[in-house]
Symmetry: D2
Subunit: 336 residues, 4 copies
C-alpha cells in the first residue's frame, strides 16, 4: 500500500524530506504540499505532481492525504497537530513539538482523549545506528550502573539568525531527548554554565561555547558541550561512564587516508550528512507504522512535552546561571 | 507499484533474502517460491502467503511473477537465467553466475541477443558504503596513480563442506569483482601462493590461509589474504596504495568500550552482519530498476563471466603454483 | 661526573625511585638513604651500598650527598627543603610541596633569599611526551585561542586510606599543574561538583566520581572528571578545544590485537606504567641540572605554592559546593 | 665510569650519533673521532673536545679509546672490526655488518676465536618499544602458532644515490632482522616481486615499490612492501597473523587533531623521528654492556652474517624473479 503524505512547510527541512520521499522512502508518496507562500507551493506541486494547498487545515481534512508531515515553523504546530488528530490522521512532526510546554500539554490532552498515539516527533537520533548500539550496550548491563555522561554537540557554524536561546531550544534538545532514550529516565535539573571565553567566530549576540549540566532522577550527571561555531565540522559525541566500563560513540568513518597531512579520517560537515541514515530510518518508520495501521512509535508527544519542560528550565538557567529543577506531571498511561 | 518476485532456492541464503523482502525491501513482495524440496516449499509458501512451485522454469513463465530471484545452486543457474531472459523477466542471481565460464558465455550471448541488460549479479560489496567511499576517493584522483592493493578476507570459520577450490570460487570472487569495480580495469593474471603453514583450525583438506596475487591491465599488483578459519570474526580489509596517498577501509565500529579487557571495538562475526547494509541496498536497487522498467544495473552477466575467467586461472594456479594469464574476449557493447 | 644522591623516605615511591636510579638514571648514584624506620633503612642501605641515616637534616648536611631527593610524607617536607637550601644543595621533592600553602610560602621566601632556584617538584606529567606534544600544538597557534579543556583522571582503584580530600590534594593536583603548564596562565576559580551517584566500588567515605571545574585568568573553562575507582585501568585524558581546532591525548597504545574479544588496545593499569617515561625523564632532568651546576628547572616551588592555593579553594568548594576564587600574591622574579 | 668512545665515520649517521652522545647517552663520551676527511675531522674534534684521527686502526689501538663506534661506509667495516677485536675493544657497528656474507664470515671467525661476543650491530628496531611489545605478545602465546606476517617499509623519499639493490641491502635488512627477532627462527627463502607499475616519484633506475616474500624454517610466510618514495612519511607497519589472534603495530601517535582537514594523527617524516627512542636505547645498551665489562648483547655479528646471506638471495631474486633458498652454516655456540 502507498501512503499519501500531506507535507506542510516547504522550507529547507521540508524540501529535504520531500527529496527523501522521492528517492529513499518506500510505500509512500507526497500527494499534497502546503505552504503559505503560494508561488513556492505551486512550483513544487507542479514539479512533484502533488496537489497544492495554502491552508494546512484544509489539506489535513482533504481526502488527498492519509498522513500528515509537519515541517512548518513551531508556532503553528499545535493547530496543525490538533487538526490531524481530529481528522484521525497520523502525523509526523519535526521538532520542536511546540515552542512552549503549555501548547505541548494541549496536544497530549487531545491525543490521550483520542485514545491512541497519533504522532511521531522528529528526534532522528533515536534511529541512528551508533546511538542504537550504545543503548544496546547500556541495556546489556555490561557497563554496570551509569554514573556520568559526557556529550558534545558541535556545528561547523550557525547562521546569524541563530539566537542564544536556540542553543537550548534547538541544539541541546537533541541531547535532552537522547539522554532520556539511553537511560529510560527523566531529567530533574538543568544548569547552564557560560564560559567566560567565546569564540570570535560567533556573532556578538551569542555565547559560544556553552556547557549545560543535567541531572536525572537516579542522579546521573550529564555535561553537554554546545559549540555551534567550532568551524571544523559537525561532530556529535557521547561517552557513557558506568561502574564497570565506559562506552562511547566513534567517529564512524568508513575509510582512512594516509597523506602528507598525516593519518586522517573525514568528519561530517553537516547534520544531514552525519545523521543521513537516521533521517531515512525515522521517516520510513513513520510510513511503516501508518501502513500497518498501528499506533505511532518512536519519540512521542509526551517526549516533546518533556523536552519542552527541560528547555524551559534551561532557558531560566541561561538567564541566572542557577540550577533549575524540572517538575513533570505524571506521565499518562498512553505513553508508558 | 509492487513487484511480484519469484524466489528460487530456499536454502540459507534464499531464506535470508525472503526475510529481507518481508522486513526491509520496499515495493516488492515474494509472490512465488520454488524449491525441489516439496515439503520445504509448501511450508514456506504457506508461511509467506506465496504460490509454491517445484519447477523453476514453470514458475518463471507463470503470470504470478514479474521478476526472478535466483538463490539456487550454481549448476542450475544457466537454465533458470536463460528461461528468465526468454520470458523477458528481470533476474537477480546470487553469485556465482555459473560454475564455468563457458556457461556464463551462453548467458551473455542470450542477453546480448535480447538487446538489454536483464540481470543483476549478487556481488553485494559494490553496495557497501565503505567500498563506495573508497571508490569515490580513488575517482577523485586524491591518491594519484594506483600502484598496489592489499586485501584480506577473513572468516571466523567455514563448514566442513567448504573445499579448497571454494577459497577461489567463493571467497576470492568478492575481491576479484571489487578490484575491477575500484579500478575500472580487468585482471590479467593470477597466482596462488600456498604458505607452508596452515591453521590447525582448518579441516585436513584445506590449505588455510592462502595468498592470491592479481595483476591488472595497467599493472596494479593486488595481494589477497584468504583466511577462512581466522576464528576471531569476519574481517574484510582493503588498502589502496597510490602515488600520492593511501586509503583503506576502517573497522567501521560505531562504538568503543573501555573495560578491564582494554580499549576495544567490536568486529562483526558474519558476512551477513558486516554487509547488512550492502545486501539491503543491492536488493532494493534490483527492485527499483524493475519498477522503473529500466535496464538492470550493478554487477552484470559480463562481470560474472569475467570473474569466472579469473577464477579458472586461479584454480589452475592453485594446482601448479604458477602465474596464469587471463585472456578475455572483447566486451560486448551492452556491458560497456 | 656522578651526583651523590641522598634519598629521604623509603616507602613505595621512594623505593620506586631507588630502583630507577639503579637501572635507568645516568650520572647519579644513591649514596645515602634516610628513613625514621631504622630496620628498613639499614636493610636498604646494605642492599644498595648506601650510607644509612635516620635523621634527614643530618644526612642533608653530610658530605656524603651532593643533592637531596625527598620522598617522605608531606608534613616533613618544609623542614627538609629548608635544610637543603641552607646547605646549598639542590633538592628534588615529590609532590605535594607542602600540605599547606603557608608552608609553601616559607620555602619560596627561603629560595628567593638564596637567590637561585634550588628545587624541582615532582609533577612528572610535564615530562610526558604526549603532554609535550599537546603543548607544542598549543604553542604553534594551530588551535587558535583556547576556550575549553576536558580532562579525565581515572584510577583503577584506590586503597582504603585514600580520603575524600585526596581527590583534590593528590589526584586533581596533576591537572592543576598541567593546565598551568599548557596554558601559561593561572587558575582563578575552582568549583567541585559532587554527582549524586557514586560507584559502589568506592569506600563509604568517598564521593567517586567528582567533577572539578576550573577557570583561568583569561577565562578558559576546564572540567576534570576525577574517577578513582573506575576499575578498568589508569586512564588520563585531555582534550583542548580551540577556536580553530581541537587536540587531544591518544591512548598511546603501541600495538593492537584482533581476537574473539574484538579489536583492542591495552590500557595501562597504573600511574607508574602510564607515566614511566615521564618519571625517568623528570629524574634525569634533575640530575642533569645538578651536574651542569645550573639552576633547577621544571616545576618549581612557586608551582607547588600555586597548586596548594588552588587546592585550598578546591577543598573549600568540596565542602560547600560553591565556586571559590584563588587569589595569588605576585610571582617573585625568580620564578618568572 | 665513563666509557671513552672512538667514533669512526663523520657522515650523517656518525654526526647524528655524536649528537646523541652529547645530549642523551649517559656514562660515555666521544673521546676520539676519525674520518679520512682531515678538515671535517679537525673541525669536529675541536668542537667536541675529542682527539682527531685520520687512520681508524691507529685510533682503535690508541689508549684514548675504550670502545669503538663504527659509522664508516660498509667496505671498510671488516678491517676496522677485526682491529677492534684484536685490540680487545668492544665495538658497535652500524648496519650493514659488511657488504658481503664472506666478509661477515671472517668477522665471526675472529670473534669465535676471541671467545666472546665483542660486537653489537646497529639494528635499532630491536630496541623499539612497539616491536618489543609485539614480541612480548608473540612470546606470551596469545596469538597461537604464527602463520603470516605483513610488513610495510615506507620512506617519504630517497636520494638519487639510492640504488635498486639498496631496497634489499638497506631497507629490507630491517625487516629481515626483525622477523628473526620476532619469530626466533631463520629465513630459508626469498622471492622479490617487481610490480609492473612504479611511482613516477622514483628515479628512473629504481623499481619502486617492490614486494619481497620470505619464508622461515617453520613455514611462516612474510610479505614486505618496500616503498621508498611514498611521499607521505616514514611509515613502518607489521601485522602478525596467528592461529588465535592477530597483533599489529599502531601509528603510535601521541595526540590527535580535529580540524577542517578532518580527524588526524601525525605520521613521522623520517626514520630518525620514528625510531628516536630505539636509537637512544641501542646506544645506551652498548655503553651499559661496556661499563659492566659484559659480553655484547643485542644484534650480533652472526645476525649481520645471516642478514647478509638473506640479502644475497634477495639480490639474486631481484635479478631473475625466482625464489632463492638461503642455506646457512651451523650457528656457532657463541651466538646461540
Amino acid at each position: 500500500m502507498t501512503v499519501n503524505i500531506g507535507l506542510i512547510g516547504l522550507g529547507m527541512i521540508g524540501r529535504d524530506h520531500l527529496q527523501r520521499f522521492q528517492t529513499v522512502i518506500q510505500n509512500a508518496r507526497v500527494s499534497a504540499v502546503c505552504d503559505i507562500n503560494r508561488n513556492v507551493t505551486d512550483a513544487i506541486a507542479r514539479e512533484y505532481g502533488a496537489q497544492p494547498y495554502y491552508d494546512a487545515v484544509e489539506m489535513i481534512q482533504s481526502d488527498d492525504v492519509d498522513a500528515i508531515f509537519i515541517c512548518s515553523i513551531g508556532p503553528v504546530h499545535k493547530e496543525q497537530i490538533l487538526a490531524a488528530i481530529k481528522a484521525g490522521k497520523p502525523v509526523f512532526c519535526e521538532k520542536p513539538l511546540t515552542p512552549t510546554a503549555n501548547e505541548a500539554k494541549a496536544i497530549i490532552d487531545a491525543e490521550v482523549a483520542y485514545g491512541k498515539r497519533m504522532l511521531q516527533l522528529g528526534f532522528m537520533r533515536r534511529f541512528d545506528p551508533g546511538y542504537n548500539q550504545l543503548k544496546a550496550t547500556l541495556d546489556s548491563g555490561e557497563l554496570g550502573e551509569i554514573l556520568l555522561i559526557h556529550c558534545a554537540h558541535r556545528n561547523a557554524s550557525v547562521p546569524e539568525s541563530y539566537t542564544l536561546e536556540m542553543a537550548i531550544n534547538d541544539s541541546a534538545t537533541h541531547e535532552i531527548d537522547i539522554i532520556r532514550y539511553l537511560l529510560n529516565e527523566n531529567i530533574v535539573s538543568v544548569r547552564v554554565d557560560k564560559p567566560q571565553k567565546k569564540t570570535r567566530r560567533a556573532c556578538a549576540h551569542l555565547q559560544d561555547p556553552l556547557i549545560v549540566i543535567f541531572e536525572t532522577e537516579s542522579g546521573v550527571r550529564i555535561d553537554d558541550e554546545l559549540f555551534v561555531n567550532c568551524d571544523y565540522g559537525y561532530d556529535i559525541r557521547c561517552e557513557v561512564i558506568g561502574e564497570n566500563a565506559i562506552s562511547a560513540l566513534t567517529e564512524q568513518a568508513l575509510t582512512t587516508v594516509r597523506s602528507a597531512q598525516g593519518y586522517s579520517r573525514a568528519i561530517p560537515k553537516t547534520c544531514m550528512e552525519r545523521f543521513a541514515t537516521a533521517y531515512d530510518r525515522e521517516v520510513q518508520n513513520f510510513v511503516d507504522r501508518v501502513n500497518l495501521g498501528a499506533e505511532m512509535s518512536g519519540p512521542s508527544s509526551w517526549d516533546g512535552f518533556v523536552v519542552a519542560m527541560v528547555c524551559d528550565a534551561g532557558l531560566a538557567s541561561l538567564k541566572d546561571g542557577e540550577k533549575h529543577a524540572v517538575s513533570l506531571p505524571e506521565c499518562p498511561a498512553l505513553y508508558r
